[in-house]
């Protein structure tokens, strides 16, 4: 949180995605296991961050993180943090980042629930990051990374 606070900014929005105890038709979810195309996660997260910066140039700090491995109910699986001078852009940029991340980053989750274990049913056909270009450098305050579960 301290990392995201900037003197020129009046807003920090953080989004945390947490492991839920149910999904469509699956009650009593106890655990998720995230698998990723590890080498390609950071480039794709970077592309999401780049697209957000292109759309909201007033973004100061921007971080996208996703965990992999096994996570229990209530644990945080994904974080987006964005700081901007005014709150509207921080909310909009954070929303864009989590929505785009869910459709464009090569990560898959397997659910374990009361009656079994299988890949999530709520999967999305992959999209390319709108306007994204993962080969561009990010000069100011940008971060995108993947963190190992546990």
């Amino acid at each position: 949180m301290a990392w995201a606070i900037e003197p020129g900014c009046g807003a920090v929005v953080t989004f945390c995605g947490t492991v839920r105890d149910h999904s469509d038709g699956r009650e009593g979810v106890t655990e998720l296991e995230y698998q990723a195309y590890m080498e390609q996660v950071e480039p794709r997260l970077s592309a999401v961050a780049k697209a957000a910066r292109d759309h909201w140039p007033e973004l100061a700090r921007l971080a996208l993180l996703h965990r992999v491995g096994r996570l229990k109910v209530g644990e945080i699986s994904v974080v987006v943090a964005a700081s901007t001078p005014h709150r509207g852009e921080a909310f909009d940029a954070a929303r864009f980042c989590i929505d785009t991340l869910k459709h464009s980053v090569p990560i898959w989750k397997r659910e374990t629930w009361a009656d079994g274990s299988d890949w999530a049913l709520c999967a999305h056909d992959m999209i390319d990051v709108p306007g994204g270009d993962e080969d561009v450098d990010h000069p100011n305050g940008y971060d995108a990374s993947i963190a190992m579960g546990r």
């Binding site: 195309y37 994904v78 989590i98 869910k102 090569p106 989750k109 999305h124």
Partner: protein, 80 residues
């Protein structure tokens, strides 16, 4: 013989029984056809839902590949 590396994820890896395999082929279509023959019907059904990348970039069935290339099959994603 060209043996590109095939990377599989999520349900595609589970259906194939492996996350990676070297599969012969000189373009994406040949690699996928050889993989379908090797891994069977459940895998073949999942392949139809997958995006194809070569070395991290979007590719199609006609994209040429050689032994230094990595072909990835990406089922619908569920991160977040």
């Amino acid at each position: 013989v060209s043996l590109p590396r095939l990377r599989l994820f999520g349900p595609a890896a589970e259906a194939a029984g492996t996350p990676h395999e070297e599969i012969p082929g000189t373009n994406v279509e040949e690699v996928i056809e050889a993989a379908r023959g090797r891994f069977g019907r459940e895998f073949s059904a999942i392949v139809k839902t997958c995006r194809i990348w070569v070395n991290g970039d979007c590719a199609d069935l006609h994209t040429p590949v050689n032994e230094s290339d990595e072909v990835a099959l990406l089922p619908p994603v569920s991160g977040g």
